[in-house]
Symmetry: C3
Subunit: 153 residues, 3 copies
């Protein structure tokens, strides 16, 4: 097994703590790739990205023009406006709209992996959408699974 | 292999039939955990939850305050109101809005598993959102995959 | 190992290029099944379907009545209308609404597989939702994983 090719299915799970971000949409593709160095050994697989919070969400969208980040945030505000009629309101006017936006976008992504890279389209990037006006850090759980090809020691 | 530790990737798939629920959002985390006892043997993995219906959906959201369940249902009603202009209307005014809400929230969830537990955030719970006013039972397909550590007989 | 049953976890990944489609929702279940013949060997598993574009999306919905396809498209138009106020507008009025709709529905699906078949409910089908008025072909990445039972040569 010295220096030989090894094949098999690997499972790697890591936490990624992201610092507090301002309300809005933020590209995080590079941070995710950096946090999961085992990606490079995966021949074919899937990377799961899960956010352990209910007022921030994950999505994949156009990441060449930063204007899209702002426009999507405006669309979300128009879909779920801050209004005084929510029952759940202790933490402020942005509280319940944040939870609703999180359910509309979703709390996890699953991205194909091939030959050591995320199999994203040319314009696609991974975004964290922060729905709270004053948010804290956000914790992601990254789970990588796939067929690996590696050089064992 | 008697009493020894065994490692490997496991796949378990189970059906979970949920009784008819009233229109609205319902926490179902405990029912899912009970329906998949093999969860406890998974060191690192993913649990997939899929609903085989098109007018009910699954989401993860804030499960400490029951008011969030009601508020999200109101938000969904405001996004997709019952109106007479839908083409697909044989089963009533709640029919097509139910299908639209199902596409907005989605029909499946994928949740990380670690050391035998769902890796949910502190406030996160799994919800079934019933979009029909008079619904029947709903069938879920649970698929668990992951690295297992167990004591074999 | 000649002619014997073999068990194991398989990973298969394929690209599926779909021709340009008119704006709206289109059932694509049959095309996906045809593009992944290895499905038939999977005892229990999951099929991941990922679209590498940011102005078209994937969803699962009612596929018996074609009217649902049109109604959902109308709902999406009502949620994210074409309006002149978007910052991102170089490619036309349908550009930014297309990106927003893609985030609302999502760019991937994960479907359970059992005994060689997609484990969809009776009325469920897989749709591609094209959000651009003049779209090009769309590329999907299909990733199949699961426990296989096969006859080896």
């Amino acid at each position: 097994m010295f220096g030989s090719e090894v094949f098999g299915v690997t499972w790697v799970q890591r936490e990624l703590q992201l610092p507090a971000m301002r309300r809005g949409c933020h590209p995080i593709t590079e941070r995710i790739i950096e946090a999961m160095p085992e990606l490079q050994y995966v021949r074919v697989g899937l990377l799961h990205i899960f956010i352990q919070h209910t007022s921030a969400s994950l999505t994949i969208n156009e990441s060449a023009d930063p204007a899209v980040l702002e426009d999507l945030d405006d669309v979300l505000d128009s879909l779920v406006p801050e209004r005084p009629s929510y029952r759940h309101a202790e933490e402020g006017d942005d509280d319940m709209p944040g939870h609703a936006k999180a359910s509309l976008l979703g709390s996890s992504l699953l991205v194909p992996v091939r030959h050591g890279r995320l199999c994203l389209g040319l314009w696609q990037g991974i975004w964290l959408c922060e729905h709270r006006s004053r948010a804290g850090p956000r914790r992601l759980i990254l789970t990588l699974q796939g067929d690996i090809v590696g050089i064992s020691q």
